[in-house]
C-alpha cells in the first residue's frame, strides 16, 4: 500500500532524467557551493591545561580559549585520572564560568539573617568587616570558636588560614554525610581507608559486586572508565540495589534488595563463602585474624534466613556469591562511596570489607591496590602553626564516636547551639558547600545559624547558605584561578596543577587572594608569603624538583610506575593494631561494640508511605551544578521514582506533578513523578540537590524537589557519628491544579 520512495524516484528519473542530467545538479551549474565541512570553529587559539572542579575528582582538562572566551573544555590525554576522556560535567565547566547568576561583588548583610537583604560593597570593606568580626570572636571566645565548612580543592587555603588563626575545626559534609562509614569500616578491617580516588583496580577485575553503588550514574571519571573497561573485558557484574540502576541493567545478577537489609545479605554471603569453601584459604591464613569467630558468627546466617529478611531468593544469593568468589582474587565487592544510610553503616562496611578479605583481594591485581604518591612538601618556608587548638566540639556532651577520624560537619553545626558540646562555635566560614542542602535536618542548621556571631560565605554562586551569611565573598571559578598542587595517591604517582584559563570575571577574586588578604588583616601574613597562588605553586614544584615550565604546559607530571600490588611484588601491610586483617575486631570489642557486624532488621515504612532513597545523576554534582544551564539542557529537574504498579493502584500518572510529605510533615516538591518498573514497591528514589529556594539561582530555583528537607530525621552511626539518612519515610500527594 505504501508509496515507495524508490518507485517515486524511478518515475521521477525516467520522466525528467534528461533534464536533470542537462542541469547537472545545482552544484556545478551555479557554483555557489560552500565548503563540504562546516567547521564550527570552537578550537581555541590558546589551550590551557588545568584541573576540573565540577566535582572533587580533579580530572585533567584542556580548556580552549578563543578571543578570551572559553569555547570548550576537553579531557587532558596526559592526565592519569581523565586520560583524555571526560564525564558530562567536565564539559559543562563553561556553564559555570558563564553562569549569569554568579556572585559578582562582595556583599554585606543589611537585614535579618535569611532575609536576603544585602548591600554590595568594596572588597576592602568586606574584608575589613570580616577580619574585625573574626578578631572579635578570637578575643571573646578564643580562636577555636570559629569553624570552617569546606568542600572542594580551593578550601585548602582557608583551612591553612584557619589553622594559622588557631582553630582546627574543619568539617566537610562529605565525611559524616557520605563516605565516613565506609572509611571507618575499612580502616578497622584493613588498617587503611578506601580513600579518594578509591584504591580499586577495577579494570583488571573479573567479577564486581555493587551494593547500592550506582556506577554510571555516579560518574567519577576514572572509576567509570575502569568499570567499562572491566565490562568490555567480560567481567561479571552483580548489583544489589532496590532500584534497577544503570549498572543493574548490565548485571548478570540484579538483587532488588529490601532497603536496610544489606547486612543480612552480606552475612549470608559470608556464610556461603565459608561453608562452601569459596574463600582464599592461604591468604586468610597468612594475613587475617578471627576466621573461627567469623565462622561461628555466621553459622546460622543461611541464605534461606537472609532470603526472608532481604526479600531476595536464596538461590539468587547463593548464585551471586558463587559467581563473585569464583573470580577471586580478581573479584571485588565495591565499597561504595555514599554510605550514610541506616546508622549501622560502619558495620555494614566492615561486613563488606570482610567479604573482600575472604576474596583475598586486598593488595592484589583486580582488587584493592596500594597507592603511591609523589613526595611534595607543603608550603616550603612557611612557619608552623603557632597554637595547638583543643579537639573539635563536634560530638554532643557525653557522647563519643570513638572511630570518627574526621570532624563531623553536622556535629560542628550542632555545637553552635550554646551548651550542647564541649565548647560553643560562634563563627562559621562556609567555603563552597551549601550547608542548607548538604546537611540533613535543615531546620537544625537554620537554628544553629541563629546562634552565630558571624557567618562568612565564600562561594561562586548564590546558594541558599549565602542568604544567611553576614558577609558573602565572590570567589573566582576554577577556570579563573590558581589552586594548590594536586598530589593524588593513585596507581601512578603524579602531580597536577590548576592554572587560570581566563582572568576572573566581574568582581570575583581567587581563593588564595581572599585568604591572603584576610591573613593580612588578622596579622597572619607570614603564613601567606606569596602574592598569588601561582608563585606558591611554582615554589612547591621547584622545591620538590620538578620542571615547572613543563608541568605548566602539560598540566601534569606522571612519574615512573611503582609496584602497587602483590602481583607486582609489593607485600601488603595492614595498619591495624594486630598488623593483620581483622575479621574479628578487638578494637570494636574493647570499645563495647559488636566485634563482628550484626544484623538488625530495619524499621518498616508505615502504611501508605515509602522509604526515601536518594542518589545522583551523571550530569550533575548535586546542588552545585543544578543552576548550570549548560548541563541542565540534558537533565533539568529531578523526578521521584515510584514503582509503576503502585502508581497505577494509586491513580498516579507517569509525569504528573506530586508533593512528597515525610513522617514529620516536611514537604518537598512539586516534583515530577516517574512511574517505573525500575524500583521496588516499598521505596521511592530521587536525585539529590534539587528544589533550590535561593532567589539568586534564577535557573535552579523551584526546579524539582529538595530531598534534604525530607531528611528531618537521621540515625547516627554509633561508631563514627555518620548520619544515616535513608531512614525517612514519605507519602505522595497529588498536586491539584
Amino acid at each position: 500500500m505504501s508509496w515507495s520512495r524508490r518507485e517515486f524516484i524511478q518515475i521521477g528519473s525516467v520522466a525528467l532524467g534528461a533534464t536533470s542530467l542537462a542541469l547537472g545538479g545545482r552544484r556545478s551549474l551555479f557554483g555557489l557551493d560552500s565548503p563540504d565541512v562546516a567547521d564550527p570553529h570552537t578550537d581555541g587559539d590558546r589551550v590551557v591545561a588545568t584541573l576540573c572542579e565540577l566535582c572533587f575528582w580533579k580530572c585533567g582538562v584542556l580548556a580552549h580559549v578563543q578571543n578570551g572566551r572559553v569555547t570548550k573544555i576537553v579531557g587532558n590525554p596526559a592526565h592519569p585520572l581523565s586520560g583524555g576522556k571526560l564525564c558530562p560535567r567536565g564539559t559543562g565547566g563553561i556553564g559555570l564560568l558563564y553562569d549569569p547568576d554568579r556572585l559578582k561583588q562582595p556583599l554585606i548583610r543589611r537585614g535579618d539573617r535569611g532575609s536576603q537583604h544585602y548591600e554590595a560593597v568594596s572588597w576592602e570593606a568586606a574584608l575589613d568587616h570580616t577580619a574585625e568580626n573574626l578578631l572579635k570572636i578570637k578575643a571573646k571566645y578564643g580562636p577555636e570558636a570559629v569553624a570552617l565548612f569546606s568542600h572542594g580543592f580551593g578550601g585548602s587555603f582557608f583551612k591553612h588560614l584557619l589553622n594559622a588563626y588557631g582553630s582546627d575545626n574543619v568539617g566537610a559534609p562529605s565525611y559524616a554525610q557520605c563516605r565516613g562509614g565506609r572509611e571507618v569500616g575499612f580502616q578497622l578491617t584493613f588498617g587503611a581507608p578506601v580513600g579518594s580516588p578509591e584504591v580499586l583496580d577495577l579494570e583488571n577485575c573479573r567479577a564486581i559486586a555493587l551494593i547500592g553503588s550506582h556506577l554510571g550514574e555516579n560518574m567519577h571519571n576514572t572509576q567509570v572508565q575502569e568499570f567499562a573497561t572491566a565490562l568490555s573485558r567480560g567481567a561479571q557484574l552483580i548489583v544489589v540495589d532496590p532500584r534497577f540502576s544503570t549498572a543493574a541493567g548490565k548485571a548478570k545478577h540484579w538483587l532488588p534488595i529490601k532497603p536496610g537489609t544489606d547486612i543480612a545479605l552480606l552475612l549470608a554471603w559470608i556464610h556461603v563463602m565459608l561453608s562452601e569453601n569459596l574463600y582464599d584459604h592461604d591468604y586468610i591464613a597468612k594475613y587475617a585474624l578471627g576466621l573461627e569467630e567469623l565462622k561461628a558468627h555466621v553459622a546460622d546466617k543461611t541464605p534461606e534466613w537472609a532470603a526472608v529478611e532481604t526479600g531476595l531468593s536464596a538461590g539468587q544469593i547463593v548464585d551471586s556469591i558463587r559467581l563473585l568468589a569464583g573470580a577471586r582474587p580478581a573479584a571485588m565487592l565495591h565499597p561504595g562511596r555514599h554510605t550514610a544510610w541506616y546508622g549501622d553503616d560502619a558495620q555494614r562496611a566492615r561486613a563488606m570489607a570482610i567479604v573482600n578479605a575472604l576474596l583475598g583481594n586486598y593488595g592484589r591485581q583486580g582488587g584493592f591496590y596500594l597507592p603511591t604518591k609523589l613526595p611534595v612538601a607543603k608550603y616550603p618556608g612557611v612557619p608552623a602553626y603557632a597554637t595547638k587548638p583543643p579537639p573539635a566540639p563536634d560530638k554532643p556532651k557525653g557522647v563519643t564516636y570513638p572511630f570518627a577520624d574526621e570532624s563531623l560537619a553536622h556535629g560542628l553545626r550542632d555545637a553552635s547551639v550554646p551548651g550542647t558540646a564541649a565548647y560553643d562555635i560562634k563563627g562559621w566560614i562556609v567555603y563552597g558547600t551549601n550547608l542548607m542542602q548538604a546537611l540533613p535536618e535543615p531546620k537544625k542548621t537554620l537554628a544553629a545559624i541563629q546562634h552565630l556571631d558571624f557567618l562568612l560565605a565564600i562561594d561562586v554562586l548564590p546558594a541558599e547558605i549565602t542568604g544567611f551569611a553576614d558577609v558573602v565573598l565572590p570567589e573566582a571559578t576554577y577556570l579563573e584561578r590558581w589552586d594548590d598542587v594536586a598530589v593524588t595517591p593513585y596507581k601512578e604517582p603524579f602531580v597536577a596543577i590548576r592554572q587560570p584559563v581566563v582572568p576572573p570575571m566581574y568582581g570575583s577574586k581567587p581563593g588564595w587572594w581572599i585568604a591572603r588578604e584576610l591573613s593580612k588583616r588578622l596579622g597572619l601574613e607570614t603564613y601567606f608569603p606569596w602574592t598569588d597562588a601561582g608563585q606558591m605553586v611554582e615554589a612547591r614544584l621547584s622545591a620538590a624538583g620538578f620542571d615547572v615550565a613543563q608541568v605548566k604546559k602539560t598540566g601534569v607530571f606522571v612519574a615512573k610506575h611503582k609496584p602497587i600490588c602483590l602481583e607486582e611484588g609489593l607485600e601488603p601491610t595492614f595498619a591495624t593494631p594486630s598488623k593483620k586483617i581483622e575479621l574479628f575486631s578487638q578494637q570494636l570489642a574493647d570499645a563495647g561494640f559488636d566485634p563482628m557486624p550484626k544484623y538488625t532488621p530495619p524499621e518498616e515504612p508505615p502504611e501508605g508511605q515509602f522509604r526515601l532513597l536518594t542518589g545522583r545523576t551523571p550530569t550533575h554534582t548535586f546542588g552545585r551544578t543544578t543552576n548550570n544551564r549548560f548541563l541542565s539542557q540534558v537533565y533539568s529537574e529531578n523526578e521521584v521514582w515510584l514503582n509503576a504498579r503502585i502508581a497505577k493502584e494509586r491513580g498516579l500518572a507517569n509525569g504528573e506533578m506530586v508533593s512528597l510529605v515525610n513522617q514529620d510533615g516536611e514537604r518537598a516538591g512539586p516534583i515530577r513523578l516517574k512511574a517505573t518498573q525500575r524500583i521496588r514497591p516499598d521505596c521511592v528514589f530521587m536525585v539529590h540537590g534539587y528544589g533550590h529556594e535561593s532567589k539568586g539561582l534564577h535557573f535552579a530555583r523551584g526546579r524539582g524537589g529538595n530531598d534534604s528537607k525530607l531528611m528531618s530525621r537521621t540515625k547516627i552511626d554509633p561508631l563514627m557519628g555518620g548520619t544515616g539518612m535513608s531512614v525517612n519515610f514519605v507519602r505522595i500527594e497529588q498536586v491539584t491544579p
Partner: protein, 312 residues
C-alpha cells in the same frame, strides 16, 4: 496487553521535534488547502468550457482564473511564511531535484501562473481590454483550447502533488500511502466546486456543479475508506498510524469534522438539492470547505506524530 512492559526515555528535547514532531503548522495546512482548491478550480472551469466549447458568461466562471491565481498566491504566501530561512527562498529555483516532490511542486507552481494568466487574458472583461494587452490576448484566444487542456493537466498535477508531498515522506507512517495523492486531488475538486457554488453562476452551471461535487464527495468517502482499510490491513506500523483515527487522539476531529461535517452532511444536503429540487443555500459548500480544510489540518497534524518512534 500481553506484550511486556516497555519504558523508553530519551534526553532529546529539540523544539518542534519532541515530544512529538510538529514542524508544519497552519501555514502548510492553508497552503495544501488552497493548493487543492486552486487545482479544483482549474480543472472544473476548464472542463466546463471544454464541454460547452465556449467560454461561460457568468461572472463567477469568468473570474475563476484570476481568483485561482489570487488564492494560489495566498497559498504560496503562507508557504513562504513557513520557510525558516526566508531569504533563501530563491534556492528552490536554482535546482531541480527529481526525487523531491517539494521541488516538483515549486516548479509546477511556477508553470501554473502563466497558464492561469493567459486563461484570464483570453476572457478579459471589456473594461480591462487595454491596447497593451491586445497582442497577448490574441495569443491567449488563439491557443485557448490547448490552454484549457494544459489547465486541466496543471490542476491534476497540482492536486496530486499536494497529496504526494506528504505521501512520499515515508518516515511518517500515516502519510506513507498511495491514496493520499488521489484523496487530496478529489478533495481539491470538491472544495473547488464548493467555492464555485458560492460565486454568481448560471442556474445550469450550478446544477452541473452540484452533481460533480456530489460525485467528488462520494469518491472522497471511498478514498478515505480505502485509506483506513490500508492502515488496518497493513503492517503493525500502519495499524498504529491508523489507530489515531480509530480510537486515538484524532478520532473525534477526524470523524466529526471531516466525515460528518465535511462529507456526510453536505452529501445529504446535496442529494436533497438534486433529488427534491430544494433551493440551493450557501451552507452546503461552506461545510464542504470546512471539511476540506479540516482534512488537511488533521492529516498534517496527526501524520507528523506518526514517526517510527511509535514502534517499540
Amino acid at each position: 496487553m500481553t506484550s511486556p512492559v516497555h519504558e523508553t526515555v530519551t534526553t532529546r528535547l529539540n523544539p518542534a521535534i519532541d515530544p512529538a514532531l510538529h514542524i508544519w503548522g497552519w501555514e502548510i495546512t492553508v497552503y495544501l488547502f488552497l493548493g487543492g482548491l486552486v487545482a479544483g478550480l482549474f480543472i472544473l472551469s476548464a472542463l466546463f468550457e471544454l464541454q460547452k466549447a465556449k467560454p461561460s458568461t457568468s461572472s463567477g466562471m469568468r473570474s475563476v482564473p484570476l481568483l485561482a491565481l489570487v488564492l494560489l498566491s495566498l497559498g504560496m504566501g503562507t508557504l513562504f511564511l513557513d520557510l525558516e530561512y526566508k531569504a533563501h527562498v530563491y534556492r528552490f529555483y536554482l535546482a531541480f531535484r527529481p526525487s523531491s516532490p517539494m521541488s516538483w511542486g515549486a516548479w509546477i507552481l511556477l508553470l501554473v501562473y502563466p497558464v492561469g494568466l493567459l486563461l484570464w487574458l483570453g476572457n478579459l472583461p471589456a473594461a480591462l481590454q487595454l491596447p497593451v494587452l491586445a497582442r497577448p490576448m490574441a495569443v491567449a484566444q488563439r491557443w485557448r483550447r490547448p490552454l484549457l487542456w494544459l489547465s486541466v493537466a496543471m490542476g491534476v498535477g497540482l492536486g496530486l502533488y499536494t497529496g504526494l508531498l506528504l505521501g512520499t515522506l515515508s518516515a511518517r507512517i500515516q502519510w506513507s500511502s498511495t491514496v493520499l495523492g488521489p484523496l487530496f486531488l478529489t478533495s481539491g475538486i470538491s472544495t473547488g466546486a464548493a467555492l464555485l457554488l458560492l460565486l454568481p453562476l448560471h442556474a445550469d452551471e450550478r446544477k452541473t456543479l452540484i452533481r460533480w461535487d456530489l460525485v467528488a464527495i462520494a469518491t472522497e468517502l471511498l478514498l478515505l475508506a480505502l485509506l483506513l482499510i490500508g492502515y488496518a490491513s497493513g503492517s503493525s506500523a500502519a495499524r498504529m498510524a491508523g489507530a489515531v483515527f480509530m480510537g486515538g487522539a484524532w478520532t473525534a476531529s477526524f470523524w466529526s469534522l471531516v466525515v460528518v461535517v465535511g462529507l456526510c452532511v453536505p452529501l445529504a444536503m446535496g442529494l436533497l438539492e438534486v433529488r427534491k429540487h430544494l433551493p440551493l443555500i450557501a451552507l452546503t459548500p461552506v461545510l464542504v470547505l470546512i471539511g476540506g480544510l479540516s482534512l488537511r489540518a488533521i492529516l498534517l497534524a496527526s501524520g507528523q506524530e506518526t514517526g517510527f518512534r511509535l514502534l517499540p
